[in-house]
Amino acid sequence: MGFPHKPHERESLVLSKHFGEREAIGLDGWRARGGYTALQKALAMQPAEIVQLVKDSGLRGRGGAGFPTGVKWSFMKPGDGKPHYLVCNADESEPGTFKDREIMRWTPHALVEGCAIGAHAIGAEVAYVYIRGEYTEALEKMNAACKDAYAAGILGKNAMGTGKTVHVYVHKGAGAYICGEETAMMNSLEGKRGNPRIKPPFPAVSGVFGQPTTINNVETLAAVPHIINNGAAWYQAFKRADNPKSTGTKLYSVCGNIQRPGNYEVPMGFPFKDFLYDLCGGPLSGRQFKAIIPGGISVPIQTRDEAEATLMDYEGFVANGTMLGSGGVIVIDDAQNLVKQIARAARFFAHESCAQCTQCREGTAWTTKILERIVAGEGTHEDFDTLLEIAENMTGKTICVLSDSCATPVISGLTKFRADFEALIKKKKVHMVPAQVA
């Protein structure tokens, strides 16, 4: 639903159906809404059957990369004699994104259930839910949900009376965006600095504690119980007719300069124009949308025309110059100085760089410095070339893609919104001339 607004009739409420319902938070209320029937069913299934079902559903990772979830699970080899782990990525720190928080605040048991099913499917007895330290309410709700689920015999050494062991443990982060990157998260869970690891080895071979590990986003795992209960074909049906590659419903967090910010759930392929104007109410009065960043601050910026032509799914966003990313839709209107916001984004990445790679450590710092200089009216045209050179040097050359993410808004900004940059240079000239005369 357009939470905290009333659901819009064109939304498809699956994950967000119970947002805002206090009774859904506790175990009894959750059971009254069909909670844990999917886990009961899943524990009676063979892991391979669940993996196949999730593959058939077309579910793809909601954490940013969109990797097919069933395929990822199939990398976990059963019977290798090693302990397997599931890690649920609840670090949600991508600016513009606040959907996983709502899942955990309003429907914590949905995530506990998704984690338990996921763990069983990949042959793991333990699932860790790594929640960012700032999410105090989500932490409290998830801790309470786990406690109640243990007390009710849903989790533990004899999960739901099946004799199977399923543990779900909450692990609290301590402030570091980079810990959302999967290998950094594993290091952090192990009690180390959150530096991303060089891949390979991939997590399915050597993940947390050196054991086979699968890592999934909150929204990905929360979708799984619905697929178990309603089947792959049901999930597949949430898509546009001409694109079978993106299926299911997707939560979008909407923020910035727009009438009705909030979380909305729509089927894959939904027209972005209708989404922005009908569901979210369009621009603030007297203003116009200037730029849209649809997948969290790490994805390329769209012009209004690009956004309005987009059909909202993995392929639809790519076809219009950007990516679905985390589903954090950031709307910037014509009253804003776009270059300032790109500079602020760069400062974010400079602050969050783990500093292992030179291109990233130096590149994020210099990008920020130069952009802030331009915003201050002290930039030159040469700065544009320097920025693009640095961006080039930051792309595809580092251990993780944080470096690329910092370069992304710079490149898309300078290519698509050059006039905004030019205006700041011109402003300087206007400002300089009288000074010289005097």
Partner: protein, 167 residues
């Protein structure tokens, strides 16, 4: 900033109920080291910050070296390496909040708390304001955290009432 802050009055955290809690926590992980972040949280919850002595105690109970623990503490922004004011206020000013007026909220907070600048405590030691990156509550007016409390939709106008409610 990097000088090791000491706490002469430090009393051990991992005794009694906290010790039991830590032992229970250790059953969740195959290594002791994995309990490091949770253990540091316990120190900060009980002592308000993570001092040299806190680091030494955590190192001892988890069989790590103090130097290792310190290396981890400095990586994560939420562990306080120095004592903080009674009301430690962290305001998000990242782009999504920035376009909705977060910088004005910061200015209003500085003005009404009497803090001279970001990061510096007010003369009475009551307030300290810092800017932080995205708190995962974008979309509405400015979100901030006061110690462990999350407060959303703060505006320039609501700042005085908010501060009054903290006492």
């Amino acid at each position: 900033m990097s000088v090791d802050a000491a706490d002469a009055s430090y009393a051990p955290v991992f005794t009694g109920a906290r010790k039991t809690e830590l032992n229970e926590l250790l059953t969740r992980y195959p290594t002791k080291m994995a309990a490091l972040l949770p253990a540091l949280w316990m120190v900060q919850e009980d002592r308000g910050w993570v001092s040299q002595e806190g680091i030494a105690e955590v190192a001892e109970v988890l069989d790590l070296t103090p130097a290792y623990v310190k290396g981890v503490v400095t990586f994560y922004t939420m562990y306080h390496q120095h004592p903080v004011a009674t009301h430690f206020i962290q305001v998000c000013t990242t782009s999504p909040c920035n376009v909705c007026g977060a910088e004005d909220v910061v200015t209003a907070l500085l003005k009404h708390t009497g803090c001279e600048e970001l990061g510096v405590q007010s003369p009475d030691g009551k307030y300290q304001v810092i800017e932080v990156e995205c708190l995962g509550a974008c979309g509405f007016n400015t979100p901030l955290m006061v110690n462990e409390r999350f407060i959303e939709s703060v505006t320039v106008d609501s700042v005085p009432a908010l501060l009054a409610s903290l006492d």
